[in-house]
Amino acid sequence: MGLVGQVFDALLAIALVWLAWQATRAADLFRAVVSFIVFGLLMAVAWVRLEAPDIALAEAAIGAGATGALLLSALDRLAPRRGRSWARVWRADARTWVLWVPAVMALAGALTAAAWQLPAPGLGAVATGALEQSGVDHAVTAVLLNFRALDTLLEIGVLVLAAVAVWSMGPAPAASAPVMPSPTLPMLGRTLFPVFVLVAAYLLWRGSHAPGGAFPAGAVLGAGGILMLLAGAQPWIRSAEHGPWRAILSAGFAVMLFAAIVGALAGGAFFEYPAAIASHAILVLEVTAGMSIALLLFAVYLRGEPHPAADTDRQRC
């Protein structure tokens, strides 16, 4: 794209820097959060420019979906009373210009220079060479679910753990003010949810041979769940023990752990798939990973232990 490409990149960089600045510095919290959401949006464009479509998909789904929803919902609790932090929080004073700005410029410059010098040999050739035995055609999926599957297992573990930790902090806080009733909202939820499921399934299917796979699929499905919740769907967990939901939430992690151990029992290493069934094993893992990412994002979004009492006002919308 030549010169135009560079102009594009420069504009993107300016916008991103400005948004990051707003996100960390804006006088009001809502502006900060919206800036951060738009920041995520434009980061996805940056990933596209950097030829990382997988990350762009995940960022689009997670950044625009789960993180945005989480932050906006948190604002509901955190919104300051009038006259509090709506005053300007930070003013550039003399100390800033003398101390911070030069230090910051020097640090940023040094980092850029250091990173620019990196030879970046990369493992592309090695990964491509091993791709044939991995059971999938798409290199990123092969890395995630075969070469470095342990990372993915632990990452799902972190999500399970986050859900447990969030739930352990007590019952989910009810929305502090009534939700605006609107007839369009349930309709929107009902209409869109099948599309969410469809798109998630499509992304999952693509994962074995093209950008896509468990991560964006899970995030899209999780976002669909959150939308349903906001649109006033039936609360999903009613009983004190949460019925089978605890089992369902941890199922993905359990299946992956099981696969890893089976690999070891079959005579190989931890997480070693026998070559004959590698592609099937990865397919199963991908589906479970996607499902559990979706469920866990949703569980984490509840911001606390789902509780019968806390659910009552969700039904109202």
Partner: protein, 99 residues
């Protein structure tokens, strides 16, 4: 250059002014209700033109379907979004602008 590519390209280019108009509206309209027009109308016409143009250009039915889906989803999102925002704004007591 084949004619599909030409027509598609022209449609895409035709979509651009709507985005500029949308941003103009976003910046210049006096209150949130008027600005909603910029969101729900101008940008979606622009998006529609781009999607149709690119669909024609690609020539593959699957791609056309996907682009169509994108457009429809955006229409749904912005229609309901605009409705919800207007409704809530009114309930919150933000008065519509009057000259």
């Amino acid at each position: 250059m084949s004619w599909t590519e030409l027509v598609g390209g022209l449609l895409v280019i035709a979509g651009m002014p709507f985005f500029i108009l949308g941003t103009l509206g976003l910046l210049r309209f006096p209150d949130v209700y008027t600005r909603l027009h910029a969101l729900s109308k101008a940008d979606n016409v622009g998006l529609g033109l781009v999607c149709v143009g690119l669909g024609i250009q690609s020539g593959s039915p699957a791609m056309m379907l996907k682009l169509l889906l994108i457009w429809v989803l955006m229409l749904v999102a912005s229609a309901t979004g605009a409705g919800l925002i207007a409704r809530t704004a009114l309930a919150r007591g933000i008065r519509p602008w009057s000259p």
